[in-house]
Structure formats: structure tokens, C-alpha cells
């Protein structure tokens, strides 16, 4: 109780000048650059395109086009499938790594954690570019297969396919998935595992009934941080995807470039944000079902 009083006393002395100076930079960035800018996108989505910056009139025509033109359904569905596959692949492959880090790594834990997060800090563009030279017709994979006598002729089957997009994105966003899962696994009380083992649970049962449910918040967080950037990606489809892998991010980008229909691009962006909102809510719901500890 006395600690509580002591903690509250200094707050009363807070000078308003100090508070203002400390709140100002964050307030400017968050309210102007994030909220106001997103508000502009929402506003623009309900405007018609007349070539001017903020468009004209008040209309839902953009959304009608998105909803009625099958092209946008196809591309949105493709984006969801690709991002879903990437999320599934990254989370499934990252889980054992996170598990090892949490329970088996021992003294190598710090080094391994550093090694798996290091690629996160390298250029995304270069990581995608690396896959372009791997998958190209006269690229690394083809030449290596021919050199080793497995194939006699280079194949076009690698580059410019949706599969190339999935592999490249899964590789580019792999480091995102490990950390949240690792944190979730690491915070499971060791006593829970001992209790499961003492009560006669075999290792697999203990994993299925104790470890996996307890790590679900981390898995969901990992899925979210992989899904969000991949569903809106336009660089990877452009580099390794070819025309058959156009994603929703590509369409948004072209509306603000070649197509030059900003209001329509804004409407597409709003739709993507709505999709993400639904995914976040579903993840939240699932998180609650697993009894989040966060």
C-alpha cells in the first residue's frame, strides 16, 4: 500500500511542460501520419476520379466496381490463397525452430536467436532478388540441375509462377514467425510440463495437450505478422510472379501509378484493410478460445 502511495506522489508533480514535450513527437506522428493519412484513404475511397488529388463528389461506385468485376474477386482470392499458404508454410516450419530454441537450445540459444532474426534486418528487395537469380531460366537452380545431370534442359517452370511467389514470400518473411512463437513457448511454466510428465502423459500427449494449446497465442501472432505484409505485397509478384500471380497490392500500386485512379486504389486499400480486420478478429476470437495469457 505504501508503495502505491509513493508511486502516485511523483505523478502529481508532473510538470505540464514536460508532458507536452514528451507527448508531442509521438502525437504528431501517430495522429497526423497514421490516423489522418488512413482517414484520407477512407475519404478518397468514396470519391469519384476526376484527376484531381482528392477526387470529386460522394459515391460508392468504386466499391460497386470492386464487388461486381470478377477480376477483383479473382485477384483478391489469389492474394488470400497465396498469403494463406505463405502463412501456413512459415508458421509450420518456424514452430519446430521456436520449440528447439525454447526447450533444447541451452547455451546456444542467444546465438541461434540472433541467427534466425538477422535476415529480418537485411534488405527485403535483395532477399527477393536472390530468388530471382535462383529461379531464372538461365539461373542458379536450372544450371545446378543440369550441371549435376538431373535435367538435360533448363525449364521455365520455376520463375513467373504463383509457386515462386509463395516460396519467395515464405523465405522473405520466415524470420517474422519464429520470435512470437518462441516467446509464447518460453513463457510456458516448466512446472506444467513436469506435471504432465509426472501424471503419466507421454511426450507427444504432453505436447498436444499442454504445449501446443499454450503456445497458440504466439502462433496466432506469428500468423498475423506474416499474413499482413504478404497479402498486400506487390514487389515479389512483380519480381518472380509473372502475370499469373498479380496480387491485390499490385493492383493498388498500379492505381497510384500507371492506371492513375487514386480513388479506386483507395477503395481497394479499404477492402484490403477490411479483409485484414476480419482476419485479426478471427485470430482474436481463436486467441480467446485458447485462453490468451497476454
Amino acid at each position: 500500500m505504501s508503495a502505491l502511495v509513493a508511486a502516485q506522489a511523483p505523478a502529481a508533480r508532473s510538470s505540464s511542460g514536460f508532458r507536452l514535450a514528451m507527448l508531442l513527437p509521438g502525437a504528431l506522428v501517430t495522429f497526423l501520419l497514421i490516423l489522418f493519412a488512413l482517414g484520407l484513404v477512407l475519404f478518397l475511397a468514396f470519391r469519384g476520379n476526376d484527376g484531381s488529388l482528392l477526387g470529386v463528389g460522394l459515391t460508392i461506385e468504386n466499391f460497386v466496381t470492386v464487388a461486381t468485376d470478377p477480376l477483383y474477386w479473382t485477384v483478391t482470392l489469389r492474394s488470400l490463397v497465396i498469403a494463406g499458404l505463405v502463412t501456413l508454410a512459415t508458421v509450420a516450419t518456424a514452430y519446430p525452430v521456436a520449440y528447439y530454441l525454447a526447450f533444447h537450445a541451452g547455451r546456444r540459444r542467444g546465438l541461434l536467436l540472433f541467427l534466425v532474426t538477422l535476415p529480418f534486418w537485411t534488405s527485403y528487395l535483395l532477399r527477393v532478388f536472390a530468388w530471382k537469380i535462383v529461379l531464372a531460366y538461365n539461373g542458379v537452380l536450372n544450371s545446378a540441375l543440369i550441371e549435376s545431370g538431373i535435367w538435360s534442359e533448363p525449364t521455365l517452370a520455376f520463375l513467373n509462377t504463383p509457386a515462386a511467389v509463395v516460396v519467395t514470400l515464405a523465405h522473405a518473411y520466415a524470420p517474422f514467425a519464429i520470435l512470437p512463437i518462441y516467446v509464447a513457448l518460453d513463457t510456458i511454466p516448466k512446472s506444467l510440463l513436469e506435471a504432465a510428465s509426472d501424471l503419466g502423459a507421454r511426450p507427444f500427449t504432453a505436447f498436444r495437450r499442454v504445449v501446443l494449446p499454450n503456445s497458440m497465442p504466439g502462433v496466432l501472432a506469428a500468423a498475423l505478422v506474416v499474413f499482413v505484409p504478404t497479402v498486400g505485397d506487390y514487389v515479389t509478384p512483380a519480381m518472380v510472379g509473372g502475370p499469373a500471380s498479380t496480387m491485390i497490392g499490385t493492383l493498388i500500386q498500379s492505381q497510384f501509378g500507371k492506371a492513375n485512379d487514386w480513388p479506386f486504389g483507395a477503395a481497394l486499400s479499404v477492402c484490403v484493410m477490411l479483409v485484414i480486420l476480419v482476419v485479426v478478429l478471427v485470430a482474436r476470437g481463436a486467441d480467446r478460445r485458447f485462453g490468451s495469457r497476454t
Binding site: T30, L33, V225, Q253
Partner: protein, 273 residues
Amino acid sequence: MKAERAGTKRDGRWLGLYVLAYLVFLYLPVLLIPLFSFNDSIQAAFPLQGFTSQWYATLYGNPALSGALLNSLVIGAIAASGATLCGITVSYMDLYGRSPLAATISAIARLPILIPGVIVGISLLILINLIGLGPSRVAIVLGHILVALPTTVVVMRSRFAAIPRTVREAALDLGASDWTTFRRVMLPLSLPAVLSAFMLAFLISFDEFIVVFFLAGTEPTLPLYIWSQLRFPRSLPTVMALGTVILATSFIIAGTAEILRHRGLGAARRDPA
């Protein structure tokens, strides 16, 4: 460790092999860039055609490249300063400000994680045109402050949280003002994390492509320069040489930032990790 049985030890070995394979998958494609940057051929293909450093020589005396590099360095330094300043103030006020406003700002500051880069890019494009700035270096700086903000907030927040509350309370009880407590006690105790946040923010800005694509005017940054060169097959080796230099720099800066992030915590308390 009592729970570890012989079975789990064996599982650990298999898992260890898996982790090794995973690391190979993670690093192999990236390491092909340095490998082929020394290859004496315009194609990135096996067999290797012999060692050369000629592609690195093409990096010198290229005014477009050095201009882009300078641009990236200046923008990275300014954006990292801005993002670090915001990260420090936002997380400090979130932890000690006791105001709903500070908590809200902190929550919104971490929001960009849930927005695809392309939407961050176009929303800022609309904003900078509205305020009459237009695509420019200033616009890129604003964009990169935004992109780096979640990272600086998370780094600074975990650092401030690792300093025992009693340290700050002692300073306040001894009559230090809020400002003095922040400047003379809390900031020096978290200096390594400040440097770490700055370096990571710099790296994010230096490597960022998705947002900068929308905000750049006539002066490209390094990633935009690379993107423009990718159209020309002949410049592939030069891009790989440049990519190697960038990768090496990124590894060094990220490594230093990682060391700094964990250093000096002993001054306040033992490293919780």
C-alpha cells in the same frame, strides 16, 4: 530440466538437425548474391566461371549510384533520429505518463505492423500531396519514421520496463524534476538501447523499398536505384556486387545493435533474457 528424459534428448538432436537445415534455407539464397558477385560471368549460373572483382570496380565512379547512396545515408540518419526520438518519448510516456492519451499514442504507434506497406505508402502519398510537399526526400523521411516506429517503440519500451521502478522513484523522491529524472537517470541507463533502436531504425530506412517507392521524387534511394537497374540484364553482376556490400553492412550494423541491446542492463539489473 528434471522433465527432460532420454526420449526428449533424442528429439532434441533431430530438432537440432532441423534447425540447421532451416538456417541453411534461410541463408543459402541470400549468400548466393556474394558468391556470384565474384563470378566472372554476366549470368548467375553454375558452373562458376572464375574469380573476379571487376563488378566491384564498376561500383566506383558511378554518379547515379553514389548519389543514391548519399541519399539513403542522409535519409536513414534523419529518419532514424526521428523514429528513435518518437520511440523514446512514446514508450516512456506509455510506461510512466499515466494518461490514456499516452497509452493510445503508444498503441497507434505499433499499428503500422497491421497495415500492409503498400497502404502505408499510398496513404502517405495522398497526405504529402495534400500538404503540398509532394514526393521528396522529406516525404521519404516521414514515411521511414513511420515504418521504423514500431521497432523503436518496442526496443525502448522493453528497455525502460527493465529498469526497476524504484530507480525512477528514488530520483523523484530526492527532488529531481521529471525532466531531470528523464535526462539524468532514465536516458543514461537506457543509452545502449537508444543506440540499438537508432541503428535498427537506420537499417529499416536504408533497406526499405515498399513505401519509398511511392514517396520518392527525382532523387532515388539505394533500393530504388537497385530496382531501376534490375530491368537491365547486363547490370545484374553490378547489382550483386552492390547487394553484397549492402548485406555485409546490414549484418555488421544489426550485429552491433543486438550486442548493444543486451549491454549495460547490469547497471540497472541483470539481463532478464
